[in-house]
């Protein structure tokens, strides 16, 4: 195995690994500061922050020969015997000078800059800069430039690392951003008439090491140090990107991509990034309610039957009694539910009616998959867990049953009651489609928002959004990722998991990990869910692949 010497510590790297000095030093626990280098983008070595001393150890004699000048760590590959020095006086001095040069032209407007608190310029200046500024202070504000519908550019804050430019050229493949002028007058800009409007545009804000690119959705909303982050999974499409949900006081403020080499690498799409606003929509259904079954609940101007709000503790028993009394049950297991919730829902349904008809819930789609040159794909299937629900249905002998099958089953009069779980962020069913469920004795609808189907329901139950759930989702590539809830659901709402857990008569608080382990034991296809789940998830086919 090749050996690299980082500040005197020998570390082994893989024989076929191609690492640069920054990556090799990181393995040894040494952080080499850098602005322009990003593992997902090409190397330009323009910021000069990662300058280090390197050398080569002679394998035969053990004599080390150093390179006489500093080299950029991002651009220097390591091989067997490479010596990296990250802490020498020469390196320290160089970093201080780079910081000083960057700050000469930087408006020190940290108090009003949204990046403050997570800014690399701040962090590196504190770590490597000098305490005093030798140049004159510039103006206290930065010029603002609108570069697209999602992003604002604060021109003077930019340090010209060109990460954003390389992103639009290499990952999104849209090349909207460019560098104009030369030397000290360099600026980022868009080509005239071509605003930064691709579906991955929000990523340039994450890439920006300073506060030059601001996310319009988050701009001025909150200082970053007030935010808490929870590792989560995006529910926008079946890609299941790993994200951080950043929140404060039960309000989501923004979503950030979480590095996951198996799923989304470092990126997320704008649909997912800004797809959390429905969580705080004022029109969400917040109460469990039941209306007394009455034959006149539809028709022209008939008096609306009394609707009573039901306490959650009573939902557990009353809902079971109602469904039991109704008879033959059909259940739609929504692909928005987690594997744990889907599994418990099936168990609840079968405990009410052992012959219950289980089927996949409505699968929302929107166009075809959309791929980008950088390897990122936005899926057309707009739900996060169809694979997981399919596997759960297979456990209950209902594999392959789709929403269409369920509608046909209900239309044929083979069911007396239906329980439709939904939880979709937008409208999903029209009046014509909902009419199939009109004649049922009991219709339970569990959804985030009102819909034609919800208006027919005798039981209306609120659903929860992606950041309010606990559990596991299985994405389109069979990768299962577990996550915990980031924020609490709106006051009083029980997440699906808690309701099903209580309806199963299990004691204590809903424990998704215990349920996950139970599922893993009950199905060979889901066996990979056993044990601790790594943050990047597991491939459900791992046993088949071996």
């Amino acid at each position: 195995m090749p050996v690299v010497i980082v500040d005197g510590t020998e570390i082994e790297i893989g024989a076929d690994e191609r690492l640069n000095c920054i990556e090799a030093a990181r393995r040894a626990g040494k952080e080499i500061p850098h602005y322009c280098w990003h593992p997902g983008l090409s190397v330009v070595a323009s910021c000069r922050m990662c300058l280090i001393e390197t050398g080569q150890r002679d394998a035969a004699t053990g004599k080390v020969t150093m390179v006489p000048k500093l080299v950029p760590g991002c651009q220097t590959p390591v091989k067997d015997g490479t010596v990296i020095v990250t802490e020498s006086p020469l390196v320290t001095e160089s970093r201080a000078r780079v910081e000083e040069a960057l700050l000469i032209d930087h408006p020190i407007d940290c108090p009003i800059c949204d990046k403050a608190g997570e800014c690399l310029l701040q962090d590196y200046h504190f770590e490597h800069g000098q305490p005093e500024r030798r140049a004159d202070l510039h103006a206290f504000s930065s010029r603002k430039r609108d570069v697209g519908p999602t992003v604002t550019l604060f021109v003077d804050r930019c340090i010209m690392c060109t990460r954003c430019v390389r992103f639009t050229r290499e990952i999104s493949g849209t090349s909207e951003l460019m560098v104009t002028s030369r030397g000290a007058k360099e600026e980022i800009d868009v080509f005239p008439g071509h605003p930064l409007a691709n579906k991955l545009s929000g990523n340039v804000v994450d890439l920006c090491p300073v506060g030059a690119l601001g996310d319009k959705d988050f701009l001025y909303q909150q200082r970053v140090w007030f935010l808490k982050r929870e590792a989560n999974v995006c529910g926008g499409c079946s890609a299941g990107c790993s994200i951080f949900t950043e929140h404060n006081q039960d309000a989501v403020y923004r979503l950030k991509p979480r590095e996951n080499p198996h799923v989304n690498k470092w990126w997320i799409c704008d649909d997912g990034r800004y797809g959390w606003h429905h969580l705080h929509d004022a029109s969400r259904i917040l109460e469990a309610s039941r209306r007394s079954p009455s034959p006149a609940r539809r028709g022209n101007g008939a008096a609306t039957p009394a609707v009573e709000t039901v306490e959650w503790a009573e939902v557990v028993t009353k809902l079971r009694d109602d469904l039991k009394a109704a008879g033959r049950l059909a259940v739609a297991v929504s692909p928005m539910l987690t594997v744990e919730e889907a599994w418990m829902l099936c168990a609840v349904a079968r405990s009410i009616d052992p012959q219950a008809f289980l089927a996949m819930g409505f699968v929302p789609t929107s166009g075809a998959d959309e791929s980008f040159p950088g390897g990122f794909t936005i899926r057309g299937e707009k739900c996060p867990n169809r694979r997981g629900v399919e596997e759960v249905l297979a456990v209950y002998g209902a594999g392959g049953r789709s929403w269409t099958d369920l509608v046909a089953h209900v239309s044929a009069g083979s069911a007396d009651a239906a329980w439709i779980t939904a939880g979709y962020p937008g409208p999903w069913i029209d009046t014509a489609a909902a009419d199939a469920f009109a004649g049922l004795g009991h219709l339970v609808v569990q959804d985030l928002f009102d819909s034609p189907l919800m208006r027919l329901a005798s039981w209306r139950l609120p659903a929860t959004g992606f950041a309010e759930r606990n559990g596991t989702w299985v994405n389109v590539a069979h990768r299962a990722q577990s996550f915990r809830q980031a924020i609490r659901p709106p006051a009083g709402v029980w997440p699906e998991g808690r309701l099903f857990w209580n309806m199963l008569g299990r004691r204590g608080l809903y424990d998704p990990v215990a349920v996950r382990h139970q599922i893993a034991g009950s199905s060979a296809a889901l066996a990979a869910l056993a044990g601790d789940m790594p943050p990047t998830g597991v491939d459900l086919r791992i046993h088949q692949l071996a």
Binding site: D109, P111, I112, P131, S141, K144, L219, Y220, F226
Partner: protein, 177 residues
């Protein structure tokens, strides 16, 4: 500034001298202070009939005010540093893009819960533009809790009320005016 910075001088606590260890000299000096207060004029006043005298109103920590700039606009730039520094979490700011070209953002709403405030002055200390200041107004009363949550307009009106008696912190005092 890091703890290892050469411009920081680290001092050791002085060891106790003979007088401190003998105890008696300090005992006498303490008793002397007590005796001096026994014979000196009284400092208590019959508030509210009598008003207490505020020593230096510029450094007194009473009711907050939000300063205005030369154009009469609120000086605050909505940087949230006061809310960050506040140990009582009594400051609530909603920031938005400012309508003026020379300022990036400004507070759409700025509320201080005066009942929660402990009047420590950290907000004044943290403010990079000297927008929030504590005045020498010390009798703070209200008929409801809601009334004691001061909004932007009320805080600006406190400034209008006190600006002549207590001018904004000058540059000589470290202000940015």
């Amino acid at each position: 500034m890091k703890p290892s910075d050469p411009s920081i001088t680290w001092l050791e606590e002085k060891p106790l001298g003979l007088a401190e260890r003998l105890y008696l000299p300090l005992f006498v000096s303490g008793l002397t202070t007590t005796a001096r207060h026994l014979v000196s004029p009284k400092v208590t006043v019959s508030y509210p009939e009598q008003r207490p005298k505020v020593g230096n109103p510029l450094i007194y920590r009473g009711v907050h005010r939000l300063n205005r700039d030369d154009d009469g606009r609120v000086k605050c730039v909505a940087c949230f540093l006061c809310a960050t520094a506040c140990p009582a979490h009594c400051i609530d700011i909603v920031a938005t893009e400012s309508p003026w070209p020379d300022r990036e953002k400004y507070p759409e709403s700025f509320q201080i819960d005066e009942l929660r405030c402990i009047f420590c002055g950290m907000c004044e200390e943290a403010c990079p533009v000297d927008a929030i200041e504590l005045t020498s107004l010390l009798d703070l009363t209200g008929k409801s809790r809601e009334e004691m949550i001061f909004d932007k307009e009320k805080l600006l009106s406190v400034y209008d009320m006190t600006k002549d008696a207590e001018p904004m912190k000058s540059t000589a005092l470290g202000g940015t005016l």
